[in-house]
């Protein structure tokens, strides 16, 4: 069935016989003050296809989809649905035209049940309702769409993957023919992602279409029939996916050959790896916010001038590890030494003072104050030092100067430093946070999932920042779930599972399979043998 | 100087009700004699501005509505004069601002229907050309007189009716604040009832407001729950009457005929009529004859009971009306011996309370609880 659809698309492309697109955009432009969000974008969505929309953060993907779903109105150009030009005054009209979107951040009422969420704000919701009726209707719709949901469950009790299914059900129940998904796999486990892909293929096979926004190249290659690449608000190209590979897509996306080379190579003049550890943990344990022991007897050494990767499926103690290492969370046991100094029971202030920088896992929630200005945010590590502070005085002008220099180093163009930092794209926020932390990271940088949610360009910037630090003799602890990144960057990789370190391996002497096994709970050879000896 | 305490009510009526003769008052150290030797200069009618400051809304169908009837009467009597008014003046610095606004708008006379203490004194001191009539107050100034209805007489009369009608001998009173008008009202009511049923008692609840239907309704429910079967109060709205109607009890009201809110519960009301008094006062001011004094609207002329309610037994009404006639004939019902609710004799046998004593009443009689 899937093959048939793909063949259809190929045939139309080859024969030139026009299948009427469900939706077309013609010459769409959208400008914001000082920013061209979209310009001259043409886009066709054919029935039966899964169409990937690829682009860096800030490439204009979200704006384009907001135009298509009626949230924005284009400054120029037109939207054509089934051959007829339309204007959407609101998302309601877009939904009525069969265009629905599942946003990256779900728009569900958590206290309501699945059935209630599905029926919320829906013209077809019956006037007289009961719990049973809503659940029966929901179950029926779900069955017809082949989506497994629990109609009576409260949304707050559902896993992220299940919540996403509810969102999709909500959209599809409104008779959507076009389903737009914004970074749908960012929140899913691999198994959940596989299930989602299956459902999407079935949906498309019924003559509908999917727009799949992503910057994960593997995914795009796996799921899509065609791919459209945006860059700087303009369309670069639309290609059948089977004519692409990762390298081609990456080049289209960032506009230049991406350095996928081994970044473990030192530049000439780089400082060597020290013998003494700059950061060392001995039997460190910690509890999570719920009081569960989520870090168990971890011992690690990080040397100056090296990048130590922390691999593992998210939620195996990495968050607590990075917090303990930066003083944000107190260890419940064990010792932490930075440059030989025992900081076990010290707070974030002392860690920062000892040259430990920290790129936190969730930058918007813990690394930034989203409502405050860019200036306020980028000086958060240095507000207490000269020249920003003199005694108890704080100098906004000095802060603004520092903010400008950090933004410059991060290559982030900031139109107005007084603007709330939440108005920046995720990639730019992360660049600023990274640059801010690099300034204080004279000994250690702890980076927790620094590439999460970023596009290739921003990820490369992050990577180059870390090698720059490494070459300057700083120890970098790099937490990631992307094995490719870890291998590319890390000198050694420690694998975490259930709060314990399964082993530390030299990344030049280990293969992906071994790491994968350790992530699943297998101890490394040395560790395993040590246990046998015991 | 006339000694206020020795005035009979009839005499008082003659003096104050007619043309507004100033009364020098020297009662119990609470009152100062009038200081004005010379009246304020006359004002031409077409130049006159008479300002009224109300504690409640004119739409309250109660106290403020009654005063506004007085204002309308003034306007009718002096069509070329200008009357202005402000409603809902709080007992706060806003009151002072309102009176200053009146003065700045050229008011020749400012009449209030509640007491505003320093907020009005401070303005009056700086506005010597403006006459002030300050309701429910005791301070006389060169340009400030005080006035109040002698509501305790009809309160006593309706108390007699309540004494006849009460089966539990327990009465209830919804007070505003522990101020003399609350003491006088509840005491007079109880004394009237005790003239019939010597074991009668009254429970008082103060709700810290003159106009708070919700609080007065709650207070009324509590009073009835405690056994009261005839309610009285000093509210500017009919909340407790409605409670009495629902619960099959009786209620005596204030200000206006409010029987429509509780036809079965309605006993009577303490009625006020400020029209004649206001017109006389304004006329004196315009003619250059006004001097400050303490003015009490006498029983039978501006202060009286309303026609009895439908369900009031003829016997009770008759007995009460006989007392009314007696008072109008010059009898003082507030005669010793009167004890306070701590058992101390406050008015020895053979003595009686003057209007001034009653006007400044600040203790509860035996059998009254809750106020002080």
């Amino acid at each position: 069935m899937i093959m048939n659809v793909m063949l259809d698309v190929d045939r139309t492309a080859a024969s030139g016989v026009a299948v009427q697109p469900i939706v077309s955009l013609r010459g769409v432009a959208k400008h914001f003050p000082g920013v061209i969000a979209n310009q001259d974008v043409d886009f066709d969505l054919l029935p039966g296809e899964i169409h990937a929309l690829l682009g860096e953060n800030g490439a204009g993907k979200s704006t384009l989809m907001n135009i298509l779903t009626g949230i924005y109105r284009p400054d120029l150009g037109e939207i054509i649905v089934d051959g007829q030009p339309v204007t959407f005054a609101s998302p309601v009209e877009a939904i009525a035209a069969g265009i629905g979107m599942v946003h990256q951040h779900f728009k569900l009422v958590k206290a309501f049940t699945v059935a209630e969420n599905v029926h919320l704000g829906w013209s077809e919701t019956p006037g007289r309702i009961s719990r049973d009726l809503l659940e029966a209707r929901t179950a029926q719709i779900a069955a017809s769409l082949n989506l497994a949901v629990k109609p009576g469950a409260r949304v707050s009790d559902l896993s992220t993957g299940e919540q996403q299914r509810v969102e999709i059900l909500r959209v599809l129940s409104r008779k959507a023919r076009v389903l737009i998904l914004d970074e749908p796999t960012a929140v899913l486990t691999p198994a959940e992602a596989a299930e989602l892909f299956k459902a999407l293929r079935q949906f498309a096979a019924r003559g509908n279409a999917v727009i799949f926004i992503s910057h994960k190249l593997d995914e795009v290659l796996e799921i899509s029939d065609r791919v459209t690449v945006l860059r700087g608000g303009r369309k670069v190209t639309t290609k059948p996916t089977n004519e692409c590979d990762k390298r081609i897509l990456a080049r289209l996306m960032v506009g230049q050959e991406v350095v996928l080379s081994n970044m473990r190579e030192r530049k000439p003049g780089a400082k060597p790896i020290s013998d003494a550890p700059v950061l060392s943990l001995r039997n460190v344990s910690a509890r999570d916010d719920l009081g569960n022991l989520s870090l168990k007897n971890v011992s690690l050494d990080l040397r100056a001038g090296e990048i130590l990767g922390i691999a593992g499926v998210a939620g195996n103690g990495q968050k607590e590890l990075s917090q303990v290492l930066t003083g944000v969370r107190r260890a419940s046991g064990g010792e932490i030494h930075v440059c030989g100094k025992d900081l076990s029971s010290r707070g974030a202030e002392e860690f920062a003072a000892f040259g430990v920088g920290h790129i936190p896992e969730d930058r918007l929630h813990s690394g930034l104050a989203p409502a405050l200005s860019i200036t306020d945010n980028v000086v958060i590590r240095e507000y207490g030092k000269a020249p920003l502070s003199q005694g108890w005085m704080y100098r906004p002008s000095a802060a603004a100067a520092l903010a400008r220099s950090i933004a410059e180093a991060a290559s982030v163009a900031v139109p107005d430093f007084k603007m709330p930092v939440r108005n920046l794209s995720g990639g730019n926020q992360q660049r600023l946070v990274a640059r801010r932390e690099m300034r204080i990271a004279s000994n250690v940088l702890v980076a927790a999932y620094p590439s999460r949610g970023l596009d290739v360009g921003a990820i490369n910037a992050m990577m180059s920042y870390f090698t720059e630090l490494r070459d300057a003799g700083v120890g970098v602890l790099f937490v990631s779930e992307e094995l490719e990144e870890l291998f590319k960057l890390s000198d050694r990789i420690a694998v975490m599972f259930h709060g314990e370190v399964m082993g530390v391996v030299d990344s030049s002497q280990v293969d992906v399979e071994t790491i994968g096994l350790m992530m699943g709970g297998q101890r490394s050879l040395e560790a395993g043998s040590a246990e046998e000896v015991r | 100087m006339i000694d206020f305490r020795n005035l009979s009510r009839r005499r008082f009526l003659e003096l104050s009700g007619a043309t507004g003769v100033a009364l020098g008052v020297s009662g119990a150290g609470l009152m100062r004699p009038a200081l004005a030797a010379t009246p304020l200069a006359p004002v031409a009618e077409e130049d006159a501005v008479i300002a009224f400051g109300y504690v409640g809304p004119t739409s309250d169908e109660g106290w403020t509505w009654q005063h506004d009837q007085g204002r309308l009467a003034v306007q009718e009597a002096f069509p070329k004069a200008k009357t202005i008014f402000v409603e809902n003046i709080p007992y706060s610095a806003d009151a002072g601002r309102t009176f200053r606004q009146f003065v700045s708008e050229g008011a020749n006379m400012i009449i209030t229907n509640s007491t505003y203490g320093d907020f009005i004194y401070d303005v009056a001191k700086n506005a010597p050309e403006t006459a002030f009539l300050h309701c429910d107050d005791r301070t006389l100034m060169d340009n400030m007189g005080v006035f109040y209805p002698s509501h305790w007489y009809p309160s006593y009369v309706t108390g007699v009716a309540a004494g006849h009608m009460s089966e539990s001998s327990k009465l209830g009173y919804v007070a505003s604040f522990p101020v003399p008008s609350s003491f006088a009202g509840s005491n007079a009511f109880l004394l009237g009832a005790r003239s019939v049923k010597p074991d009668a008692t009254i429970q008082v609840i103060a709700i810290n407001s003159w106009f708070d239907p919700q609080a007065s309704t709650q207070a009324a429910r509590a009073l009835i729950d405690n056994g009261a079967d005839v309610l009285f109060g000093i509210m500017d709205e009919p909340g407790y009457l409605q409670v009495a109607e629902q619960r099959g009890k009786k209620a005596v009201m204030l200000n206006t005929d409010s029987r429509k809110y509780g036809p079965n519960a309605y006993v009577s009301s303490i009625m006020f009529d400020f029209r004649k008094f206001y017109v006389d006062q304004v006329r004196a001011r315009l003619e250059g004859k006004w001097v400050p004094g303490q003015f009490l609207l006498p029983f039978g002329d501006g202060t009286d009971r309303d026609a009895w309610g439908e369900t009031v037994p003829a016997g009770a009404a008759k007995a009460a009306d006989e007392v009314r006639e007696k008072i109008l004939g010059g009898w003082n019902p507030f005669q010793g011996e009167i004890k306070d609710n701590k058992g101390e004799v406050r008015v020895p046998a053979g003595q009686s309370m003057s209007d001034n004593d009653i006007y400044n009443w600040n203790w509860s009689v035996d059998g009254s609880s809750g106020l002080a």
């Binding site: 936190p360 405050l372 005085m393 704080y394 007084k418 | 610095a93």
Partner: protein
């Protein structure tokens, strides 16, 4: 050419001011239409309101007296907002400050010059004590200060009634729901306007300076905006929360102190005049800017004073309240609209 309206992320200062002015003008225009339809002489009414506010010495003095407590309560709410707390209880802290200052005035003998600073401190401490429990409950048990501060308002108001009609009742018998006239007075600054006004303005400017130009102020901003970021940057969120909330209470308490010692001279029920609640409106109008509090308080003072002046012209009190609401409503819309700008673009 087509004209479009776009939302922009950050508002510009001039646009915000213009939007506010337009909002006020619009509200007044609607009011004018209503008045004109009911046959009022608009010119006369306008002149009257102007004369009663800016156009006369006594009008200005009244504005000065109204604006003093409003600046302080508005500042109290704004300061709490800085640390991420909603102090709905400025009304209660106002009462507590008034009570504490009255206690000093009644029971501490001495010349005004010595007792006055004591009353000042007492007013601040009174307000602080009133917010202490909500503060600790929020800091240590994460109990919403919204509810706790609000509920204590009623306690504060009733406590004043109790004191003013009970133990502290004027012994002279001349007033029946108030204390005796307090023996001290805040010195006059201009006519009836006492030194509370310049002190309130100075306090506002000083606090704005502290928030913008000290390390502490920076830390408070971060802590108030995102406690997790504060923890990350080793900024003691809880300590700042407690200190700032207590400060907020102290400022509201000062408003009560100035009102009782400087304006009413007696403690009595109803003294707060809703200044605590109006302070919330002032803070909302000021949009978190300490300096904006002065402008917000001034606007509210003019509205309140105009309300009195309009009433003497036969404008119903309900109309005055509706007009007040209208101005605030339009200001809120204007604030939102200042986020938009008009762009012209040529069609394709």
């Amino acid at each position: 050419m087509s004209i479009r309206i776009q939302r922009v992320p950050s508002e510009n200062m001039a646009g915000g001011l213009a939007a506010r002015l337009i909002a006020i003008v619009l509200a007044l225009s609607i009011a004018a239409i209503v008045f004109a339809m009911s046959g009022a002489d608009l010119g006369k009414l306008g002149a009257h309101v102007f004369k009663s506010t800016f156009g006369s010495r006594f009008g200005l003095m009244d504005l000065g007296l109204i604006v003093t407590p409003l600046i302080l309560t508005g500042l109290a709410v704004t300061v709490a907002m800085k640390v991420g707390a909603w102090n709905i209880g400025a009304e209660g802290q106002f009462c507590a400050g008034a009570i504490a200052a009255t206690a000093v005035a009644l029971f501490v003998p001495g010349p005004t010059i010595l007792v006055l600073p004591l009353m000042f401190v007492a007013g601040a401490i009174g307000g602080m004590l009133w917010i202490l429990i909500p503060t600790l409950a929020r800091a240590y048990a994460d109990v919403s200060e919204l509810i706790t501060t609000l509920l204590l308002n009623f306690v504060g108001a009733l406590f004043i009634y109790y004191l003013a009609t009970g133990p502290w009742l004027d012994p002279s018998g001349l007033s029946f729901a108030a204390t005796k006239r307090l023996p001290h007075d805040v010195p006059g600054f201009w006519g009836d306007v006492h030194w509370g006004l310049p002190i309130a303005v100075l306090l506002t400017v000083a606090l704005a300076g502290v928030l913008n130009y000290t390390r502490w102020g920076y830390e408070v901003r971060i802590a108030g905006s995102n406690p997790a970021a504060a923890r990350y940057a080793a900024i003691p969120f809880r300590r700042h929360l407690i200190v700032v909330m207590l400060m907020s209470g102290a400022i509201a308490g000062l408003a009560g102190m100035f009102e009782v010692i400087g304006t009413t001279h007696r403690l009595q029920g109803g003294i707060s005049n809703n200044f605590g609640y109006i302070g919330i409106m002032v803070a909302v109008l000021a949009r978190g800017s300490a300096i904006g509090v002065i402008a917000g308080a001034a606007l509210m003072a003019v509205i309140l004073k105009s309300g009195i002046a309009l009433q003497t012209q036969g404008v119903n009190i309900s109309t005055v309240l509706a007009l007040t609401g209208l101005i605030l409503f339009f200001t809120a819309i204007g604030d939102e609209l200042s986020h938009y700008r008009i762009v012209r673009s040529k069609p394709a």
